[in-house]
Symmetry: C2
Subunit: 209 residues, 2 copies
DNA sequence: GACTGTGAAGCCATTCACAGCT
DNA sequence: AGCTGTGAATGGCTTCACAGTC
């Protein structure tokens, strides 16, 4: 077990393995091999073993992995053995959809607050959370000990919102706006551009098909 | 100019460059260097040049690239010089958000139809499009010459929906459900798992910070 | 016999560095 | 002088293949 540099692709796959293991555990499966996981999620068995090997030895040679144990290990590795508090900035279609997305809650992400600059959206109720104005940002971050900010505002205000999140002490940001954001080096930034995926399909349809 | 195997990462970056070039064109910028594009989107200048080099020579040595020309070339490369017809299956929060997402329309993706199995959602109006029942799937695909299917249904029905899309002749699928889907080799499949991104942040917060 | 864990090999993407133009 | 286009070098991820274990 040697922790040095973990490929991001490995982390993404672990997240996928964990959901598959959860399903298996629910189905009552007790033991599973790397080959079966591989088939279940669409990668190679060597890949599964290599990914896990970054973090330790979780299996038994000749046998495989205990599903419950491995699930626990992977969740721990991903930091999902605890609650993360999340604030969403931007209560448009995407922000609202994310706020209501059951998948996040199920994995330990708690939507602490959702803010919007638009007066018209403030007060709207999304399940447990009510849309609030931007000026409560710092207060809510402190109050709920928010770790992660999700940005779903229009491109134009994305950097401004980012600066506010950083100033409030948020240490990780998931950015859905199609803009390059500047953050201090101690803040973890991740960009998701939904258009990119459709455009890769467009390219491939043209190019291959 | 040699077309062989284009890295998927290159295609994704081209999609990002194109949005930056669009912005520049709107700002009236006429010429730009690979270094400036690089800074604008957060990659290296050699990367920009290499990505473009897969498809031809679009710049002038000593000068740079003409913004309008390069934008046109990149859009053409991505297959975005034409309209693509899209069907969305699943009118939940995410499906609805995607159906209403302006970013898609702006890039030439036309939401032809949105379907759902839930009787309660059928008839709901999302902008121009009305939610329809699943049994019109094949009909709508034919009628609108649909090229791309977006799956935002619960995990349990994802494969069934996929099979219907494939049977109807859809050649590319964007899957938002966290499940491995089986498709024939001539169908292009792309998976997007929104939870993965949050979980990578969770991992990094734990591991680095 | 089956399956894990892992060094070594292979492969692919990114970066370097410079020749070639303007 | 400035910037592109590109072969060569580098770096990193994936696959191979097998020793180790049950």
């Amino acid at each position: 077990m040697k922790i040095y540099k973990i490929p991001e692709a490995t982390v993404m796959r672990l997240s996928i393995y964990s959901r598959y293991l959860y399903q298996l555990a629910g189905d009552g499966v007790e033991t599973i091999s790397s080959g079966e996981i591989a088939r279940g999620v669409g990668v190679s068995s060597a890949q599964v073993r290599k990914d896990l090997a970054y973090f330790g030895e979780f299996g038994t040679r000749g046998v495989g992995y205990n599903v419950d144990d491995l699930y626990g290990h992977v969740m721990k590795i991903l930091g999902l053995d605890k609650m993360w508090n999340v604030i969403i900035i931007g209560a448009g279609k995407l922000g609202s959809a994310l706020a209501l997305y059951k998948g996040f809650v199920k994995r330990g992400f708690n939507i602490s607050a959702i803010l919007d600059a638009d007066q018209g959206k403030i007060g709207t109720e999304l399940e447990k959370v009510v849309v609030e104005p931007m000026d409560v940002l710092a207060e809510r971050v402190k109050e709920h000990n928010v770790n992660i900010g999700i940005i779903t505002v229009p491109t134009i205000s994305a950097q401004e919102v980012t600066d506010k999140l950083v100033a409030a002490g948020v240490k990780a940001i998931l950015n859905f706006s199609p803009r390059v954001l500047n953050v201090p080096s101690d803040v973890i930034l991740r960009n998701v551009d939904l258009s990119v995926h459709l455009e890769v399909l467009s390219f491939k349809l043209d190019y291959q098909g």
